[in-house]
């Protein structure tokens, strides 16, 4: 793992302070504050176009906000590029899967391991001594902690492009986990899945969050309210780039503005149960 100073369970891991984001004259986010504490599942909800994915991209480093600051473990990371943020222990999955379709499941996951590899090009191509040992250790980690957890033994050597969508999502999660992140950003992990796959995925998220080998803090963007309310410790509801409410699932569910903006609309209260 990348050496950063340790923080305790319950301390703020990621902080967004007065974030403003404009695209030309369009204000995508205005004055957003967010505190994600270590060990929790923090969800972000909001109608389509509310600015959720923009927020993810800001945290991840794909976008840079015009105003406001982002702190990760107390360190300001506004200027860091995505790969530098990944080294700090941040990983993400995407709303529409972004996997390497021509590569096998195993290779996709291995790729996520890249930031942990220490061997150089020459020893890597010779594959001797320390490099071989390192490779075996990483492979063992992938097999024991990721493939077993996500139950993808049967597709290990299949090209990802040939797999059904639900499994591709799982592979993408596997690749994010290979980074051994401290903070995992999940952008709509349940979109497009059938009921059984949703149940599986929800279980994986809980496992990643609670299993003692993982204990990953999760930032979850999701439309499936049933899952969000069941899983989350905290929920932030946004609409048109503004914070509506930030609190526990009960508080958010009972907030009249949320009900009006989001939950009240029968169609959008898109829980599958």
């Amino acid at each position: 793992m990348v050496a950063t100073h340790r923080i305790k369970e319950g301390d703020v891991l990621l902080e967004l302070k007065n974030i403003h984001m404009f695209f030309g004259k369009v204000c995508a986010l205005s004055d957003i504050n967010l505190n994600v504490r270590k060990g929790e599942i923090h969800s972000i909800i909001g109608p389509n176009g509310a600015g959720k994915t923009v927020m993810m991209n800001i945290i991840n480093g794909l976008y840079h906000p015009q105003k406001g600051s982002i702190y990760y473990k107390g360190q300001k990371i506004n200027k860091l590029r995505p790969y530098q943020r990944a080294k700090l222990g941040m990983a993400r999955t995407f709303q529409k899967v972004e996997v390497f379709g021509g590569m096998t499941v195993l290779d996709n996951i291995r790729l996520g391991r890249h930031i942990h590899l220490k061997s150089g090009i020459i020893s890597g191509s010779l594959y001797i001594g320390k490099t071989a040992r390192e490779e075996i250790e990483h492979r063992a980690f992938i097999e024991e902690e990721i493939i077993d957890l996500l139950e993808i033994e049967h597709i290990r050597n299949k090209p990802v492009g040939m797999l059904p969508y639900g499994l591709q999502k799982r592979v993408e999660l596997g690749r994010a986990l290979a980074l051994e992140p401290e903070l995992l950003i999940l952008d709509e992990p349940l979109a497009g899945l059938n009921l059984e796959e949703v149940e599986d995925m929800a279980r994986f998220i809980i496992d990643i969050n609670e299993e003692k080998n993982w204990r990953v803090t999760c930032l979850l963007v999701e439309h499936d309210m049933g899952v969000v309310m069941d899983l989350s410790d905290h929920v932030l509801a946004i609409n048109f780039g503004n914070t509506v409410v930030d609190g526990t699932p009960e508080e958010v569910q009972n907030n009249p503005e949320v009900i009006r903006a989001y939950l009240g609309e029968e169609d959008l209260y898109a829980t599958r149960r």
């Binding site: 077993d148 009921l195 496992d207």
Partner: protein, 650 residues
């Protein structure tokens, strides 16, 4: 092969002498001490690697689990339930239960909660080995209704972190308890085993029962061991053999191979990584012996047929040519004629060009004997495997004889029979045509069911309830369950299974149900194979959203009609199908339509689908269905539809 036989002879030369005092645990200790740390008892694929477990490790684990059970308070004759997939820990638990003088009871892994409750309660089990969270959840939901159940033991820690119930204990902790006890009483394990004798009950098996609630058959150590000996007297197994264990342990066939045969000869049992990987894992192992119900072979046939349809024209030509040669040679062998040398050359070419690869892909490259039993298998499937050069044999047996009583002998195979009795086994036909069996493996009786025992066991003869006859070559022909035999309009008896298996040879048909007892003509209810037909529909650019919608498309009806016409060919007019209907759902064991081993429960489906049956025997072209179906996750859906009835023109 020659070489192998030779070494095998010497192996099977020192076969175990089975006496009335010998028990499975005694034999287990003897084998484990003899084979020790240099011989692999079992292998499990875990984290992508085949991991060996030696006999010494096997013994060590069983010892700890058995003593652990004793520390938890297991008494002589207590029942121990086991549920889960095939894995070493499952077999250890079973062996440990027997070593601790308990009685093992296996449950099918996909049993619904009600079935689990019934068996756990009826068997008076005090302990239950669950594999993972899923099984633990099932067990916890019934523990209040099964007051005799005390402890649930689990071994897969995944998802178990928040379970704090007192009745739960992990396998590791149980083994630790056992270790502790072993330290204080180092001879206890051996003493327990020494107390056993062959006539004691070893295992309690619940039969799937096509007609009523499951019945528990009590099998002794002697039953199990003589079973293995007598089967291996016909087809010897060898110490060097590999066996793949992937069918449910709750099925007697799997027990017969893993325990009865495996323990006596000491072959290696291989456990696949997961249910989804079993086919690929079997291919890696290339087992020497295999025993599976017909549906596994039907699935293989379907795979080959579908892949063949998908492949390039050149491959198709090669395959069809090889199949032609294969069928011709197989038919010659069936007729016990010698194969002329030019056919032998052709056979070799077919083998080298096609069959070798094909067999390898199916995991049959090293197979010496493949058995099928548990339900009827159609002659088409049977010929298919022989044409491939696979020595497929029918067996006939039941849980109540600890496995099988009749099997085909090599070079004496007739695909309409199930073969001749194994040693020490007598098979007779009563005056009413019922098959009865007498052998040392005939069970002790049904648990807590003297009524059924009295009807089944008469003077040491086991009354099977199956109808059949013995032909001129001494082969047994099993007709069908007595109650399932139909009478056609011309007064002849007819086994619907025969036609059903014929229909199932088509890759597009997954299940079929033939109706027509004492009726004017025969009809069938068809369940299409969703994936194969779905693929066919995709190629034809047909749109559909569900099984139900696909099954009712006219093009699909035409496709199925073609398959039925093919099956109808060569049948006497009275036995030809006249009408059929595509069912809106697949038949499912969870809906009680099939048994857990996928046998059709005719009486049940007849009442359930009475409306469809009535329509098939009226002039109607449609039958209106208004019903509720429940999905596996508990959701219910309302189905309102018209099912089309298709007449088959001559």
């Amino acid at each position: 092969m020659q070489q192998e036989d030779k070494t095998g002879q010497s192996d099977s030369g020192n076969v175990v002498k089975i006496t009335k005092t010998l028990t499975i645990p005694k034999l287990f200790i003897r084998q484990a001490e003899k084979l020790g740390k240099d011989t692999v008892a079992m292998r499990e694929k875990e984290f992508g690697i085949w991991r060996p477990i030696t006999w010494q490790q096997y013994l060590e684990n069983v010892r700890q689990i058995a003593l652990g059970l004793i520390s938890l308070g297991l008494k002589d004759g207590d029942k121990v339930c086991m549920i889960g997939t095939n894995r070493p820990e499952g077999l250890w638990a079973e062996m440990a239960a027997m070593c601790a003088r308990g009685i093992g009871v296996w449950l099918f892994q996909d049993c619904l909660i009600d079935e689990v409750k019934y068996i756990v309660d009826h068997s008076d089990s005090r302990f239950l080995f669950a594999e993972s969270q899923e099984e633990v959840d099932k067990a916890l939901s019934i523990i209040n209704e099964c007051p005799k159940l005390e402890k649930i033991i689990w071994d897969d820690p995944k998802g178990m972190r928040n379970y704090t119930e007192d009745c739960l204990i992990s396998l590791k902790n149980l083994q630790a308890l056992g270790k502790e006890l072993d330290k204080n009483h180092p001879r206890l394990f051996e003493e327990m085993i020494h107390k056993g004798y062959g006539e004691e009950t070893a295992l309690l098996f619940y039969t799937s029962g096509t007609t009523a609630l499951p019945k528990g058959a009590l099998l002794s150590h002697y039953n199990m061991l003589t079973m293995g000996r007598n089967l291996m007297a016909v087809d010897p197994c060898f110490k060097t053999d590999d066996y793949a264990s992937y069918l449910p342990f709750a099925w007697i066939g799997e027990q017969m191979m893993s325990i009865s045969c495996g323990l006596q000869i000491g072959f290696t049992i291989n456990f696949p990584e997961s249910i989804e990987t079993s086919q690929a894992n079997i291919r890696e192992i290339g087992p020497h012996v295999m025993f599976a119900p017909p549906r596994m072979y039907e699935q293989m046939t379907r795979t080959v047929q579908v892949k063949n349809l998908d492949s390039t024209w050149f491959k198709r030509i090669c395959y069809n040519l090889a199949a032609k040669i294969g069928y011709h040679v197989a038919d010659l062998k069936f007729k016990k004629k010698s194969v002329p040398f030019y056919w032998k050359i052709l056979e070799f070419m077919a083998y080298a060009g096609v069959q070798k690869k094909l067999k390898d892909n199916l995991g049959l490259s090293r197979i010496r004997n493949a058995y099928t039993g548990g339900a009827a298998m159609g002659p088409d499937h049977f010929r298919f495997f022989h044409a491939l050069g696979v020595n497929l044999k029918q067996i006939y047996g039941q849980t109540e004889v600890a496995g099988i009583s009749v099997v085909h002998k090599t070079n004496d195979i007739k695909f309409d029979t199930v073969g001749s009795p194994i040693p020490e086994t007598e098979v007779k036909i009563t005056e009413d045509g019922e098959i009865i069996t007498k052998s040392p493996s005939v069970f002790q009786g049904y648990y807590k069911n003297p009524e059924a025992t009295k009807n089944t066991l008469v003077d040491g003869w086991l009354y099977s309830g199956d109808k059949g006859f013995i032909d001129d070559d001494g082969h047994l022909v099993v007709f069908d369950r007595s109650k399932d035999v139909m009478t056609l309009t011309d007064g002849k008896p007819f086994a619907p299974q025969y036609l059903e298996t014929r229909l199932k040879f088509s890759p597009y048909i997954k299940d079929s149900w033939v109706i027509g007892d004492n009726l004017d003509y025969l009809t069938a209810v068809i369940c299409i194979d969703y994936s194969v037909v779905g693929k066919w529909a995709d190629e034809k650019k047909l749109t559909y959203t569900s099984y139900h919608e696909l099954s009712q498309q006219m093009q699909i009806y035409d496709l199925i009609e073609k398959q039925i016409r093919h099956a109808n060919k060569d049948l006497p007019p009275a036995a030809k199908l006249k009408k059929f209907i595509n069912l809106y759902k697949e038949l499912d064991a969870d809906d009680d339509e099939l048994t857990r081993t996928r046998k059709l429960r005719r009486a049940f489906v007849l009442t359930r689908y009475q409306q469809i049956v009535d329509a098939l025997y009226s002039e109607a072209d449609f039958v209106h269905i208004d019903t509720t179906i429940s999905y596996e996750d508990g959701r219910k859906a309302h189905i309102k539809t018209d099912l089309h009835i298709c007449k088959i023109m001559d």
